[in-house]
């Protein structure tokens, strides 16, 4: 290597030298191969200004540090970087999609929520400043502030803020932020409802003593009026308003306006403009039940619920109701409902559900009518229900944990899978060993009805009678 620096005389000898000192092997000896020299067109030289550190770039970097810190829940560090970021408020960002003021609002809220040293007072102070920052977001900020206050139990402050926000006017912005305004009014209505119900309870308690407090009552009524107006408004808009609907219906029922209540609930449940909401039907059902409506309307309400959410908890009641019905179609539906419910893992260990199914299946088997119903229902399930519900492992576990469950399930298993099925065999064997009476009866029953099983599973001639 020294030769490169010192000896010039070696040039002549260099040609004869074996090793090629200068270039890496094969670079200039084989013309086609070029080392890191790229055609000008393909590789544009990086401009010297590419890495220029300017305002926007450094603020972007700052923002990414804030994000990192927040994701790792390092609130102090996030706050530190935020102090450097707030400067971007002074620069014009009107062309960017998200303005720094919105960023600062959201980031600041997060930090203040989680930081150990922050207090509600600081939070309020911060939010007040944020409100002045962006007029296009004013109502949104107000609303989120109210939510935060409610979460921290400061209901009165929340109410004040809502009233203040409601009276806000700002030219055409008021029209543009109409949706938020409606929400604000709705929440104020909700808080009115809350105070109404407080006063109602007070009155009811005192009412037992005999003397009615007139002022409280009047206040209560005024709360009602305020609440009713606002809640009614918001419910008109298509959306998911479970909380508001419930409160409104409660108000209406208290004052005896059942028609209005029914109308509201019907609208909420059946109006196609509203998004599909199972709760709507639940509310309607509960209302109808309270009112003691006819079975027909109740059943129709629940039917839709079954269609939307087959695994809903009300399906048990639905099934019970349907089983009692005299109409064949209804009973058929009941069977369908209970089978559908038990398709879901949440019902696997539910004794009541299994008992409903067991009862209905037993009844069908004893009457020997409509066995085809069971066959139809079982057809789509015979591939996977045995492993899902009636495995040997489950048999053991059910027996150990819940005898009632195992009893009901064994009944169903015995009918659907026959007396030789794993589940039934195990449980009945255990039951008889333990000398529990009902298991012995069960065993006899199933053994006698085995042909039914054969018919259901299609293994023998359908006309065979026991």
């Amino acid at each position: 290597m020294d030769s490169f620096l010192e000896e010039e005389e070696d040039e002549e000898a260099a040609v004869g030298r074996k090793r090629s000192p200068a270039a890496p092997a094969g670079s200039t000896l084989q013309p086609p191969l070029h080392l890191p020299f790229l055609p000008v067109l393909l590789h544009q030289p990086a401009s010297s200004h590419e890495n220029k550190v300017n305002f926007k770039k450094s603020k972007e970097a700052c923002l990414s540090y804030i994000q990192d810190a927040m994701l790792q829940k390092q609130w102090k560090r996030a706050a530190e970087f935020l102090t450097f970021y707030v400067e971007s408020l002074e620069k014009d960002y009107s062309r960017e999609p998200i303005s720094p003021s919105e960023m600062i609002w959201r980031i600041g809220t997060e930090i203040l929520c989680h930081h150990s040293h922050s207090s509600m007072k600081e939070f309020n102070c911060f939010v007040e400043q944020m409100k002045t920052l962006g007029v296009k977001r004013y109502l949104k900020v107000c609303l989120e502030h109210v939510f935060h206050l409610l979460c921290n139990g400061q209901i009165d402050e929340a109410y004040q803020n809502l009233s203040l926000a409601e009276s806000w006017r700002f030219g055409e912005q008021t029209a543009l932020q109409d949706k938020e305004m409606k929400l604000i009014q709705a929440y104020r209505g909700l808080l009115d409802y809350y105070s109404w119900s407080k006063q109602k309870n007070v009155l009811l308690e005192r009412g037992l003593d005999g003397f009615a407090d007139l002022s409280v009552e009047q206040e209560m009524h005024s709360c009602f009026r305020k609440a009713a107006v606002n809640l009614k408004e918001i419910i008109k808009i298509p959306g998911v308003w479970d909380l508001f609907v419930k409160c409104y219906v409660d108000l209406l029922e208290f004052y005896g306006d059942h028609n209005e209540a029914r109308q509201v609930l019907n609208e909420y449940a059946y109006n196609s403009k509203f998004p599909a909401n199972p709760n709507a039907h639940v509310y309607l059902y509960q209302f109808l039940k309270r009112q003691g409506e006819s079975k027909k309307s109740v059943i129709s309400a629940l039917k839709i619920l079954h269609d939307i959410v087959p695994s809903h908890e009300l399906m048990i009641d639905f099934n019970t109701m349907l089983q009692k019905s005299k109409k064949r179609k209804k009973r058929r539906l009941g069977l369908e409902v209970i089978f559908a419910a038990l398709d879901y893992a949440g019902w696997k260990e539910n004794v009541k559900a299994w008992s409903c199914l067991a009862r209905q299946v037993k009844q069908i088997v004893i009457s020997e009518k409509h066995l085809d119903w069971i066959k139809q229902e079982w057809n789509s399930r015979k591939d996977w229900w045995p492993a899902f519900h009636f495995s040997r492992y489950l048999a053991k576990r059910n027996w150990q944990e819940n005898k009632n469950l195992s009893y009901e399930k064994a009944l169903v298993a015995g009918i659907l899978l026959g007396k030789d099925g794993k589940y039934f065999k195990y449980v009945s064997h255990q039951g008889c060993k333990a000398q529990v009476k009902r298991f012995r009866i069960l065993k006899k029953f199933v053994n006698r009805r085995n042909p039914v099983y054969l018919r259901i599973s299609g293994l023998s001639d359908s006309s065979v009678q026991p």
Binding site: M1, E6, P45, N54, F81
Partner: protein, 481 residues
Amino acid sequence: MKDEVLYSFWRCYLQKSKQAYCNRPAGETVKALSVRESSTDVDSEPERPSLLHLLSLSESEGDLLTDCSFASSMSKVSESTSIYSGSVDGSLYLMKNQKEKLRMTMPTTLSFCYMALLWLREPITLSELLRFVVEGHIPYLNVFQHFPEKMKLCGLDLKIFCVESWPVYEEVYNKMLELAVFLDLPRFPDITDSCFLHPDMLCIKYLMEANLPDELHNWTCRVVKKIGIGEVDFLTLVPGNKSTRKVKYDILAAAVIVVVLKLLFLLDDHYEWLLSDLAEERNKNNKEGGLYFEFKKWYEVVKHSLDVEQKKLDEERAKYLWRCEKPLFYSVKNKSRVLKRRQMVVNLQNQFGKLSGSVRRAEKPNPSSFQLRWSEENTDGSCFHGHSLKGILQEKCGLLTAMNPDYWLCTVKLCNEKLCGHLAHYREEDFPQSYHFVLRLFSFLLRIQPSYIHDEVCMIEHKLFNKKLYKKLKYNTVLRK
């Protein structure tokens, strides 16, 4: 002395650009002109800057340590100038004027400064100057804070004075060259062996900072001598001479060190580690007392420090505060808005500042030439200055030569700088990691992109292996025939 140099440059500039000091200035009268001196040397004492009022052609002195800034000279006296229209010729300044291209901008003021420093052959490089600017030792960012009360800044002046980006090395350097030509300056004072800017001297500094053994200095001197970049004629700036390549002293010195490392260690991701193992072996048997230099150990120590410092730098970059207490506004109308915003920003800063827990250091550390410091007193062995290179050298004909017989060129053919802007195009993926690390180290120290150092490395290599390359090409063309 400095006053005079910069002052005369400034006068020359104004004269040339017909803004003042001539019979028919482009404007009619001059309002005020302030020229301030920069003193960035650690060694020198703070200079008293001079405020110059050309109307009275007298000098008065201020007390401030500030950077070179400039004021505006009037071009047309317009009746409607109110206090808030700012400097009268601000609008003229910003208009694109074909005739006079060299309008003053904030980065250009730095070019001015550097030119004066170069003339005086001060021991400061351009990269150091720019680093001091970024670190805030030289007022640049919100320089109007230091203006006298009378000079109110608003309107279009904002575009000139309101800085929202840090100056780039290339930009400042090229502008300086342009300025030198524009001012018809003669050949600059010679840069000789004893001058700080000579590659030998700068190499010492960078070797120290990079924690490399002092013995490498011999090798850098030899490389410098061999390719003739230590010559006075090569190093001295001659404005207007388009044929010679302009020298960037700091980048050149760094590139020389990189080349020397390549010569000794090859840096192809294999050889240097083998060599390091060999040195380690030798160290075990070493009876002389002085440790042999092991690349691996050096790499570990330096990489660790570099990563730490780089991380700090990145965070500092994210934490720049571009605005200051004195807000700027374009017109009376948005004054109140700007002030309100400023107030809100300050409030928010206070609020979150309290939550951030850490106390912001009130004083800036003093400016220093060295960013990485390695002390021999440290017992953990992290300082490599005193290490000997014998571990990687071999005896040959009584001389110590490197064991590495090979070398790889960064590029076989240099690009045309006028077309591409660069001599070579650097992409990290194309080169060995060790090479990239060394480039990264120096690019951190100089605060520039690795590609600039790569360019200089290519240039040096081509000078170094010129004869061999030339011969090979000739051989190839002969072959083809």
